[in-house]
């Protein structure tokens, strides 16, 4: 079953010709309309016409998250503000988030991509989707919503939390399909157990889509067996519409990326050079079917590899493997993207904080920040240390949107290796 069979099974030669045509149009669009790209192209000594084949994309400059932040709020718009109908921002940044804009056509297109993904997993308009993702600036909620609506599914926009009510909705409305994060799925699974509910028998659940956070194959299998449903991996990022960039089909062996909408590259994170299919490296994506805010060669910082083998499902669009890690130090806690630098910025701005700190990631939900207080800050009592800890928790929560545990440590006690402090201890086992 296909949503857009012709496009999804387009022969490679035709698909690549379509890519070339759309890429040329995109390069011209940003060159003509976005000063940032005009400057960036000029710096690389390229013009849109320099592209003779899709491989020539290598000549063009990358776009990084810093570029998006520097061009906030609308420096990367390729059309007039009056043509934009939706704004989404990326979670977890203070001060300058990444803003992504969509025209009506962009939204409709994105909905079609989602519909393709849903049908690829076996959904039909008779299915009932419970969208257990945050609704708001985060793309996970609304973007999936409109895609499911396009397909004709019944959508229950339950968003996140209130798990008892979520289960009641599943019982009362016959939910067949869930969209949620892996950590919420694990929580839900244990909640089912605690309530003595066997989803496979007592509910109509058939499948779940999990994304927005990294998780292992082991976790997928554990959830499948615990809930008696099929779990499909979903990949996306706000900068590339949100969910729907890549999705597993019923083969569940890698996620198809819609190559008529994105040019996929894998590059060496250190040098930026393209790597051959099959080798792990950083995923770089270029939108070729977006008019509001096209993005050229975006460095996602996600590590994966292309699986060039033709999929048994019949789709000719290439697959990428499960995300293997990050090329930077970003991590995700409770669904929020966090960079150690954000934490450091807060810590160093608080009086009483010493030189050394450590971020310990326990799970997808829990993070502990160990901070040395400064020697001079101790005045003979524990009171101001307590206050310091309280201040740090509040300031961190305000900056990173997640409330961490904070533990104060005596100055000089946090381990230092090779002269450089090891800042992030990752005990999560999600890659």
């Amino acid at each position: 079953m296909f949503w857009q069979m012709e496009q999804e099974t387009l022969k490679r030669a035709k698909l690549e010709a379509l890519q070339l045509k759309r890429l040329k149009q995109t390069l011209k669009r940003v060159y003509d309309n976005v000063p940032f790209y005009q400057k960036a192209f000029t710096k690389c000594k390229v013009k849109p016409v320099s592209l003779k084949s899709v491989k020539d994309i290598e000549k063009f400059p990358f776009t990084t998250r810093e570029d998006l932040q520097a061009n906030y709020p609308d420096g990367l718009l390729a059309c007039g503000r009056e043509d934009i109908v939706r704004l989404h921002t990326s979670s977890g940044t203070t001060g300058k988030p990444k803003a992504v804009f969509f025209t009506k056509a962009d939204l409709d297109n994105s909905a079609n991509l989602i519909a393709r993904c849903l049908v690829a997993t076996g959904c039909t308009k008779h299915d009932v989707l419970q969208n257990m993702m945050s609704y708001g600036l985060f793309t996970g909620g609304l973007v999936m919503h409109y895609g499911a609506e396009k397909l004709g599914m019944l959508i229950i926009p339950s968003a996140v939390g209130n798990t008892d009510r979520q289960i009641m909705l599943m019982q009362d409305f016959g939910t067949t399909t869930l969209h949620l994060t892996p950590s919420y799925a694990l929580y839900l699974a244990s909640h089912f157990e605690a309530k003595g509910i066997n989803p496979a028998k007592d509910l109509k659940l058939k499948r779940a889509f999990m994304g927005a956070e990294p998780y292992t194959e082991e976790t997928r299998l554990k959830l499948e067996s615990s809930m008696g449903i099929e779990v499909f991996n979903s990949y996306g990022l706000t900068e590339m519409n949100g969910p729907g960039v890549a999705f597993e089909c019923t083969e569940k062996n890698g996620m198809h990326i819609w190559e008529d909408n994105f040019i996929v590259e894998i590059v060496d994170p250190a040098t930026g050079k393209q790597l051959p299919d099959g080798e792990y490296g950083e995923l770089v994506l270029t939108t070729i079917n977006r008019e509001g805010m096209p993005i050229i060669r975006y460095r996602t910082r996600d590590i994966t590899a292309i699986d060039p083998v033709r999929c048994a499902c019949g789709r000719t669009h290439v697959r990428i493997k499960r995300i293997h890690g990050r090329a930077d130090d970003m991590f995700i806690i409770r669904g929020v993207n966090i960079y150690p630098q954000q934490i450091e910025q807060v810590l160093m701005g608080v009086n009483g904080v010493g030189k050394n700190y450590q971020i310990v990631l326990e799970s997808s939900e829990d993070m502990t920040i160990r901070v040395e207080f400064s020697k001079g800050y101790f005045d003979g009592n524990l009171d101001n240390l307590k206050t310091l800890r309280g201040t740090l928790v509040e300031k961190l929560k305000a900056a990173i949107l997640v409330r961490p545990k904070v533990e104060l440590a005596e100055p000089g006690t946090l381990p230092v290796s090779e002269g450089k402090s090891k800042r992030v201890i990752d005990n999560r086992k999600v890659y």
Binding site: K375, F378, D379, G380, N381, L382, L385, E407, L408, A409, E410, P411, G412, T413
Partner: protein, 128 residues
């Protein structure tokens, strides 16, 4: 009543810390006259009255400890039943509140000193 210097040493609530701290006293030939240990979860504060407080402060700082020195009150109590009660009564009447207290028994055992922090230092100095 007199003011004397108190050393407060911060430490993680782990085995071996006390040994480490008392070693510094020993190595520097400083005598401990009174002490108090208070733990609060993962941390604790050890308070000491020593015969050479400034020397102790330097020695502990040099040894890498987190240490602070402050002035506390040393109030004479008679070393017999009622001795403490009399002092406590007087302090209560004066409207003062004691924070953290422990005892220093004087060498000749004629009296004892109540070592304590009183928040309202100015008022305490006047009253006592």
């Amino acid at each position: 009543m007199k003011n004397i210097k108190q050393l407060s040493i911060f430490a993680e609530n782990k085995p071996g810390k006390l040994e480490h701290i008392t070693k510094v006293f020993e190595e520097n030939k400083i005598n401990i006259m009174a002490f108090n240990i208070a733990s609060q979860g993962d941390f604790g504060i050890m308070r000491f009255i020593a015969d050479k407080p400034e020397k102790a402060l330097e020695a502990f700082k040099k040894a890498g400890f987190t240490i602070s020195m402050n002035e506390v009150f040393a109030i004479e109590m008679e070393d017999k039943p009622g001795g403490f009660h009399n002092v406590a009564q007087f302090i209560a009447k004066s409207g003062l509140n004691i924070e953290n207290a422990y005892v220093l028994i004087e060498k000749d055992r004629q009296g004892a000193l109540l070592i304590c922090d009183i928040k309202d230092t100015e008022k305490a100095k006047k009253t006592l």
